[in-house]
């Protein structure tokens, strides 16, 4: 076969289409519907709360020997980083050996880890400055689980230099919102937080009733109609690559419209909930005004310098996560907690370096024994500190009664990091599942998988439980290290 350039753009440069073909993925459309199995559980068709999925991912630099037990089996005394979760020991499922082994083009270490983290893509990179990876597990879940909720998903937190972790499709990163005021606004503008009464909802099918109510908010709807008509007319006058961008715009319009539709439906259902709410108390969110004065940007720099402010911030973000799930605003949340570029005096009490990123590198080596022990210990302290907030969040989830089950029972929670160590590693990630996921996970133990088992297999398992299962995900079936036919045996 000749090596002629089939792609005709004159530059010989790797084109996205070529890359996609090479990766064996169908040419990207905004909706990769083909592989998504029909959603088996319709909301309102089952009495009881739905299953939620939440991913909490922290910075790099975790210290694995203080994170996992020496071997698989039932959980005894927890290693020091996970010790704050001791009270929930029976709800923990530690998984070891999971890795990403895909290829990457033109990326630095952080981007490489970031793009692969939740996508498990066989190949990640940048073309002309634009990132590409694959759809991420949270977005894949949101495609299905998000049909019934007000927001399909929420991505929040600080990622390293805004490196995207979530991708709505191969080349459409989902931006992470860092400002808690914006997140709250997005969740509750036009509506009130209220605790759903799952029992009543399941019995009376009033979710369906809500859907048939007449639309309101005519002004915004007509605005959307007008710009949609304009965009469609415009589309024909553009060339094919510009049309793609405009398609993104049209998608966004559609999403806005859906949001308005859902708002109406929601308000109806929630009006009934207000009169007869679920048994739990609403999570109380208090966002201090200093987070907005003079701007969130400014507060962000405080977060970097002062772990007390950083702690306040993580707590508020965790509370927003719980509130989002509690009120069924969404069923898929991804929270990036911590910041690689922050300083941690007072959290780190050994040595004299407090800069997280510096410590990540200083405390990292091919083998733990070869690393600087003080720096490594500092990394351990930082990660133990993150886990304290995670544990507080787990306790809160556990304390919310949804009518016979706790919110933790109804959530599949993943605690992980976008790097497996301080050196942009992608082998043997920290991966902790918390919560029994409505009985589909058998917890209270650690399972050791063979080295380099694809992390994508875990994502397959998670998507299955969210009703978004498919034959494979990411590189689960294509990785050179593929195992277990793309699944993780023994989780249930």
């Amino acid at each position: 076969m000749s090596d002629r350039n089939r792609f005709g753009d004159g530059s010989g440069r790797m084109t996205r289409r070529a890359m996609l073909r090479g990766a064996g993925v169908a040419v990207a459309l905004p909706f990769l519907e083909s592989w998504v199995r029909p959603f088996a559980r319709a909301a309102g068709g089952i009495a009881g709360p739905p299953l939620r999925m939440a991913i909490v991912t922290v910075t790099g630099g975790t210290v694995l020997e203080s994170w996992k037990l020496p071997g698989g089996g039932p959980l005894g005394k927890l290693p020091s980083i996970l010790r704050p979760l001791d009270f929930a020991r029976n709800d923990l499922l530690i998984l070891t050996g999971l890795s990403h082994t895909g290829a990457s083009d033109n990326l630095n270490g952080h981007e490489n880890c970031g793009y692969k983290h939740l996508t498990g893509a066989a190949r990640v990179g940048k073309i002309g400055g634009r990132p590409y990876a694959g759809i991420s597990v949270d977005q894949a879940a949101a495609r299905v689980a998000g049909r019934e909720t007000f927001l399909p998903s929420i991505e929040m937190g600080l990622t390293n230099h805004e490196t995207p972790f979530s991708f709505r499709s191969v080349d459409q990163p989902a931006p992470f919102e860092a400002d808690p005021r914006m997140i709250f606004d997005r969740m509750f503008r036009g509506r009130q937080p209220v605790v759903p009464n799952w029992k009543r909802r399941g019995e009376s099918r009033d979710a369906e009733a809500g859907r048939t109510s007449p639309p309101t908010d005519p002004y915004d709807r007509s605005v959307l109609d007008a710009v949609r008509a304009e965009a469609r007319a415009l589309r024909n006058r553009l060339d094919s690559s510009d049309r793609q961008k405009l398609d993104q715009y049209l998608d966004a319009l559609r999403a806005s419209e859906t949001r308005i539709d859902r708002l109406e439906a929601r308000l109806r259902v929630e009006a009934l909930d207000v009169k007869d709410p679920g048994p739990s108390r609403l999570v109380d969110i208090r966002i201090p005004s200093e987070m907005g004065k003079p701007s969130f940007h400014h507060y962000r720099e405080l977060i970097h310098r002062d772990p007390e402010k950083h702690a306040d911030y993580i707590r508020i973000m965790a509370d927003l996560l719980v509130l989002a799930l509690q009120t069924d605003t969404t069923r898929v949340v991804t929270l990036a907690a911590g910041a690689d570029d922050a300083f941690f005096p007072g959290v780190v009490t050994v040595g004299y370096e407090y800069h997280c990123h510096t410590l990540e590198h200083q405390g990292n080596a091919d083998r733990p024994e070869n690393a600087d022990p003080i720096a490594r210990e500092a990394c351990r302290q930082i990660h133990a500190w993150y886990t304290e907030f995670f544990a507080e969040m787990v306790a809160r989830l556990k304390a919310i009664d949804e009518g016979g089950s706790t919110l933790l029972d109804n959530t599949m929670l993943l605690y992980t990091s976008y790097m497996s160590d301080g050196g942009h590693g992608t082998i043997d990630y920290p991966a902790l599942l918390v919560g029994k996921a409505q009985g589909t996970l058998r917890t209270g133990r650690q399972i050791d998988f063979p080295a380099k088992t694809p992390m994508s297999n875990l994502f397959v398992e998670m998507l299955e439980r969210m009703g978004a299962g498919g034959p494979g995900f990411g590189d689960s079936l294509t990785s050179p290290n593929r195992a277990f036919e793309g699944r993780l045996p023994g989780l249930a």
Binding site: N5, G128, P173, G425
Partner: protein
């Protein structure tokens, strides 16, 4: 015979880049590469490519650098037309560099490169690099539909509706991804649903500002409703007339009647409810502000006659390109009028005059605060690591002054039309009183940035003397020669080193030198961490440059020694040149001034086009530099040549775009 430069004399209807078929045919015949400068025979280049070079490539290179396998992302095979193959000079530059250094093909290649083949290849590349490539065969590069960046949105809305920028800054719009260099690269400006939601909200708030009672609100309403109802002018007519004028500005082109009609429906609906004129007009703002014609910079797709590789954009599109390049905002009245009269694409003198006017306008400060700031990575100052613990004078006021110093310097280059080589070195600096004291320069008082003449003993001058650069390439308590070397290579010379491999650590302190001797100097310690073969290859290119800057401590202050050990400022570059200290480094950079300027040109072109450059842009970049060399690389000459270039004035015609 000098290079044939085709003037862009076009009629709006035909939109061709050259006058007639005949001329075009002549051009191709006489030689796409018809430069006789220096006796380079360019017209046989395509032929030589086909006969001599292509077989060599197929033998020795294409196995790894073809279409199916692209080691290092490089494919040497391009379009079939050899005439066009020559134009991919970016590729040939890379090939030449690697082959000359003996790095390619690698020693373990299946088919080695014969000496005779090597000579032939390099000779051809050398001729190709020197040849002129006519504008007629230039590819203007992929087009990218560009969403307005956050900053552009704020400035545009501010200009469109005369709203105070401070109020607009508070709009909580999403930050843009800094991309690889510039945040205005179209490729990275995506529009996720959450992003559109924010623009939705922003539109509501802008409407509230326009119809509120801020001091500017009357003026804003006049902008929206320049034509008011009157005894001889019914409301709907006034609405239509206002809308026509407003849309011309908002859409940055004369509006379609259908668009006006579509929007008037909103007006009618409100009137049907009994709303007064102004309230009914208010309903129009939101659909306009979230319309794709506002949020995106739209350019029409056009066919080309005779299969040419580019078509000129029309006057309105060129006006928008100009105003977003030079001002980061929408065109003003003067520019719009020139566009209305078709002067921008038909009258080169008028175009030049307009560019000069725009450069002299205050709005061109965007070139300093956005383009230059992003080029020199000024935002790293926000997270500059030197800690006040070790550098107590490096406090917030000094950091702010260091940022302003950079803005002031680049704005001075613009306003006084200085040679851009002053970036390497110059006999002046900018500082306010506090910063001057920090630098040890006398004679400045007050909080504002001022220009001050400096001498050799002040140790400043040029980008590398600026505190912002020095402090953002350091660690908490010490300098980082590696970060500084990388900075010079990346920002000034345009040859960034590849990123480090995974699992790299910082300096270890107890690995011995291997000769039984203890490690004593900082340099030796740095050398340790570059002692492994895989690291040393890159580090010997990077570190010596950084060492030359060791006189500047981590917070950018000058030091003669580190008080307990003398400084070792010497280094040997891979070329064998020895440099000593900042003066030595500046000498080396001055000797390479062409390369430095060419890199600046490339970055400015990138910023102006909103896309990363491709291999085919190399001749354009080279040409801009060579043309502006005739004016000693003055700022305005570079800007003008960028504006005159093919990629800035043209786009690919219909059918040439491939889905990326």
């Amino acid at each position: 015979m000098d290079a044939i430069r085709i003037r862009l004399v076009t009629k709006r209807e035909t939109r061709m880049c050259w006058k007639s078929r005949r001329i075009r045919a002549w051009i191709l015949l006489v030689g796409v590469f018809g430069s006789a400068v220096g006796g380079v025979r360019g017209d046989d280049l395509p032929d030589r490519y086909r006969r001599e070079v292509l077989p060599i490539l197929n033998r020795a290179c294409v196995g790894c650098h073809g279409e199916s396998k692209r080691e290092g992302g490089l494919s040497l095979l391009g379009p079939d037309d050899p005439a066009l193959a020559v134009a991919r000079r970016g590729v040939w530059k890379r090939v030449r560099d690697r082959v000359e250094e003996g790095e390619m093909p690698p020693d373990d290649a299946e088919t080695p490169l014969l000496d005779s083949d090597r000579k032939t290849l390099l000779a051809w590349i050398s001729d190709a690099m020197a040849a002129r490539i006519a504008r007629s065969v230039r590819d203007p590069g992929p087009s990218v539909l560009r969403r307005l960046t956050r900053g552009e949105y704020v400035r545009t809305v501010g200009d469109l509706l005369s709203i105070e920028k401070g109020d607009l800054e508070r709009l909580d719009l999403p930050e843009d991804d800094p991309g690889d260099h510039f945040e205005n690269l179209g490729a990275s400006l995506s529009l996720a649903p959450t992003t559109l939601e924010r623009y939705f909200d922003a539109a509501d708030r802008v409407a509230a500002m326009v119809f509120g009672n801020g001091w500017y609100a009357r003026g804003s309403r006049d902008r929206l409703m320049p034509v008011r109802p009157a005894p001889n002018r019914p409301e709907r007519e006034a609405a239509r007339a206002s809308l026509a004028r407003f849309l011309r500005r908002a859409h940055r082109r004369p509006p379609d009647p259908t668009e006006i009609d579509r929007l008037l429906i909103f007006f009618d609906r409100e009137k049907a409810r009994g709303a007064p004129f102004e309230e009914a007009m208010r309903a129009l703002l939101k659909p306009i502000l979230i319309s794709p014609r506002f949020l995106f910079r739209i350019e029409q797709d056009r066919p080309a006659l005779d299969g040419s590789r580019s078509v000129t954009v029309d006057d309105d599109e060129l006006a928008a390109r100009l105003s977003y390049f030079l001002w980061g905002t929408m065109p003003d009245e003067t520019l719009n009028q020139l566009a209305d009269r078709g002067k921008l694409t038909s009258d080169p003198a008028a175009l030049e005059a307009e560019v000069r006017r725009m450069l002299g306008d205050n709005r061109a400060q965007t070139l300093s605060k956005v383009f230059a700031a992003q080029w020199v990575q000024l935002d790293r100052m926000r997270t500059a690591r030197p800690s006040q613990e070790f550098f107590p004078r490096f406090h917030a006021g000094i950091k702010q002054a260091m940022v302003e110093e950079v803005w002031a310097f680049f704005d001075h280059l613009r306003v006084d039309d200085r040679p851009v080589t002053e970036i390497i070195d110059c006999n002046y600096a900018f500082a306010n009183e506090e910063l001057a004291r920090y630098y040890g320069i006398k004679g400045i008082s007050g909080g504002k940035m001022q220009k001050v003449a400096i001498g050799p003993s002040d140790h400043r001058g040029g980008l590398l003397g600026m505190g912002a650069v020095l402090a953002s390439t350091s660690h908490t308590f010490r300098t980082s020669p590696t970060l500084r070397g990388k900075y010079v290579l990346e920002v000034l010379l345009g040859t960034p080193p590849p990123p480090p491999p995974a699992n790299v650590g910082l300096l270890k302190d107890d690995a011995p030198l291997g000769k039984g001797r203890e490690v004593t100097t900082f340099r030796e310690k740095m050398a340790q961490h570059a002692s492994s073969a895989s690291c040393a290859g890159c580090h010997r290119k990077i570190d010596p440059i950084g060492f030359a800057l060791e006189n500047y401590d981590a917070a950018g202050a000058w030091r003669e020694s580190t008080r307990d050990r003398p400084l070792d400022l010497s280094g040997v570059l891979p070329t064998g040149e020895r440099i000593e200290g900042i003066d030595g480094l500046k000498r080396v950079l001055k000797a390479r001034r062409d390369q430095v300027v060419e890199n600046l040109v490339a970055r400015m072109l990138e910023y102006a086009l909103g896309r990363k450059l491709t291999d085919e842009d190399e001749p354009t970049v080279r040409e801009i530099r060579e043309m502006s060399a005739r004016s000693e690389y003055r700022y305005s000459s570079i800007v003008l040549e960028v504006v005159r270039s093919v990629p800035f004035q043209c786009r690919r015609p219909t059918g040439r775009e491939v889905v990326q």
